[in-house]
Symmetry: C2
Subunit: 390 residues, 2 copies
């Protein structure tokens, strides 16, 4: 008794969370200024004022806190679909969206709905958010990893090597955690072509699961390709955690176009998976908040400022990194030793950055830039010292 696999997921806290807790202890001991904490993807900017204004208005409605239908309140789904169809010139229907308790829930539900035998696999593109592996394995499938190229984009060749008859889906995350990379339309079109070929070869759908919590955080007017129009069999998992700075409230959705293969079956399977995982409905108040405020997002200008400072200064010092086009992460190569060794050396100076081994990228480290700009500036002399020590 006691499921060992699940126990392991409970005891082996993520490296990120462990460093974060270490930082908190250090702050209590030596003061806030003794620590430069770049561990967690916890948005530092406030929610747009519309969020709290909407809350104040909605809570006086008679059914603000009542159950909604399992797929989410109909008027909420209608409003989201209308806004997305306008913005992306798309053809979503309110039947094809399920409100969820955030992107983690969306992903866990989609994986659970898809996997039906232990032979089946879902491909994650390195470097990738470590929870993908937990959710895929929890659903009973195999998480298969595909390599990345020097430019931090996925290796199409390696994806081709990894796909087989038991591949159900491939997870795409752009803007990317942990690299901040945006996959180009050209790159995504080659991926789509490969998947079309493989679908025909194996005579079953291979879905792109597009994990898009960073969709609204894009810099320098970079174009973010709309994947559902590049590849028909796309299932999108969205979260408002980063775009509205409400990560604790757990609100997001799963959406797909009506042209997706097995559309109706998938709708029911997602409902079944949500039910089986103990979800009843997405938090009702925040469903109504989303409908109320529409396409309003947090002001994320500071993430760009931080990226600019970090990228310019670290490059000058001799660090190797690719300029992020979105999200709030910078991905650097360890200038000396393994990423774990480098992270340990940095810790001695109160500088907390996450070794990317659990993202499938040993030798790299992730810097979360969703912090105050003064923390970025305060960290620069430490980064300099660390590379000069080498």
């Amino acid at each position: 008794m006691i499921n060992e696999k699940i126990l392991k997921w409970g005891t082996s806290r993520s490296v990120i969370r462990e460093l974060f807790e270490y930082g908190n202890a250090l702050k209590r001991e030596k003061g806030e200024d003794a620590v430069c904490d770049f561990t967690l993807g916890n948005p530092s900017v406030p929610s747009p004022k519309e969020v709290n204004a909407a809350i104040k208005e909605i809570i006086d409605r008679p059914n603000a806190h009542a159950y909604t239908s399992a797929t989410g309140a109909l008027n909420v789904r209608e409003k989201i679909v209308k806004a997305l169809n306008k913005r992306f010139n798309a053809d979503y229907s309110p039947d094809g969206i399920i409100m969820t308790t955030g992107a983690a829930a969306s992903l866990a539900i989609v994986f659970k709905a898809l996997v039906s035998s232990a032979d089946e696999n879902i491909i994650a593109l390195k470097p990738y958010f470590p929870e993908y592996k937990v959710f895929i394995e929890s659903a009973g499938g195999v998480c298969r990893e595909a390599d990345f190229d020097e430019d931090l984009s996925f290796s199409l060749e390696d994806i081709e090597r990894k796909i087989d008859k038991d591949t159900l889906a491939i997870v795409v995350n752009s803007p990317n955690n942990p690299t901040g990379a945006i996959y180009s339309e050209e790159k995504l079109r080659s991926l789509a072509a490969l998947l079309e070929k493989k679908q025909a070869e194996y005579a079953h759908p291979i879905y792109i699961i597009s994990d898009e919590p960073y969709r609204e955080i894009v810099f320098d007017g970079a174009a973010l390709p709309f994947i559902p129009k590049i590849y028909k069999n796309t299932i999108t998992c969205y979260s408002y955690s980063k775009s509205l700075s409400v990560p604790g409230e757990r609100i997001g959705y799963i959406i797909m176009r009506p042209t997706v293969d097995l559309y109706e079956t998938l709708c029911y399977a997602f409902l079944g998976a949500a039910r089986a995982n103990g979800y009843v409905c997405a938090p009702s108040l925040f469903q109504y908040v989303i409908a109320e405020i529409g396409e309003v997002f947090s002001d994320t200008e500071v993430y760009k400022t931080n990226r600019d400072i970090f990228y310019e200064e670290l490059k000058k010092m001799g660090y190797s990194c690719v300029k992020p086009q979105g999200a709030f992460y910078l991905f650097i190569k360890s200038p000396l030793g393994t990423s774990i060794e480098f992270s340990e050396r940095a810790k001695k100076y109160g500088l907390l950055i996450v070794p990317a081994d659990s993202f499938g990228a040993p030798g790299y480290l992730r810097i979360a830039t969703c912090v105050k700009t003064e923390t970025v500036k305060r960290s620069l002399p430490i980064f300099k010292k660390l590379i000069e020590e080498k």
Copy 2:
């Protein structure tokens, strides 16, 4: 591809939800007054005013919508534990409570943590909330059913027959959905004695999983036994859905005393199961609301009024039912034909009551009494007509 078992949970909507949707359609067609809808356990009384007052105050705090730790914010857990220890003279610790996204999440997490092979079983006491079976099977285990006696309490003899070396736990739900019964202290002590004996025989813990969403809804000053003091190996799953009339907000907890067997292992296993199911943290705003308002609950006097009217009047008409001591349900025997036939006959008059076959109790029907008293009164002539037609 597409998990068939999970698809089935999506397509076979619960009988309750189906009747409820039928009722909504009928109301749109013929008007609210043409329907007496007793299908859903959706609280009809408003939340205490403290809930919305707390929301208005909390949302202006800097981190109101930020991530909390996976177990829940420490100050929230501390406040709940302190209140419970005072009320029940208990010894809970903030380490032994995990804030969850409602009782459904709590149960799904506990089952998933416990089940490690397909041979293992968890016992549900008929009549029982149908989702238990879904959650247990989703966790990979077997849901084994134990019979009930004429007084609607569990049959200890049948539990003894059903327990074997692969029994991990038994789910107890008092006040009960669908009967409104409260299990007496004497009855629970005999269950505890049986479980102690079986634990010794099989040399492993057999937990009571106490599902307590109706804990605060108790009539006539009935004593509600505190199970963790009757049986050491009790894991309690609580929800604020009914006690605060906030079922859409999804907030509850799992709690156990430090003396529970495998306490520390269970704490980690619950965290692992929550992580694997895609839970990150319980909705942050409502965590803080719970801490802020303390032991304040909705005024549920109307549920007692409704129970009294229903019980007295239906008895007079000749219906067979046991007087509920809590929750907001009345459980009746079908006076003619199967419960499904009786429910179908009632539907013709716009009277919606749920056949209890999916609760493991064919021949019975559940009346949800969490409605306006005028609806109860309006339904009485129809109940009379139905029993006279027989």
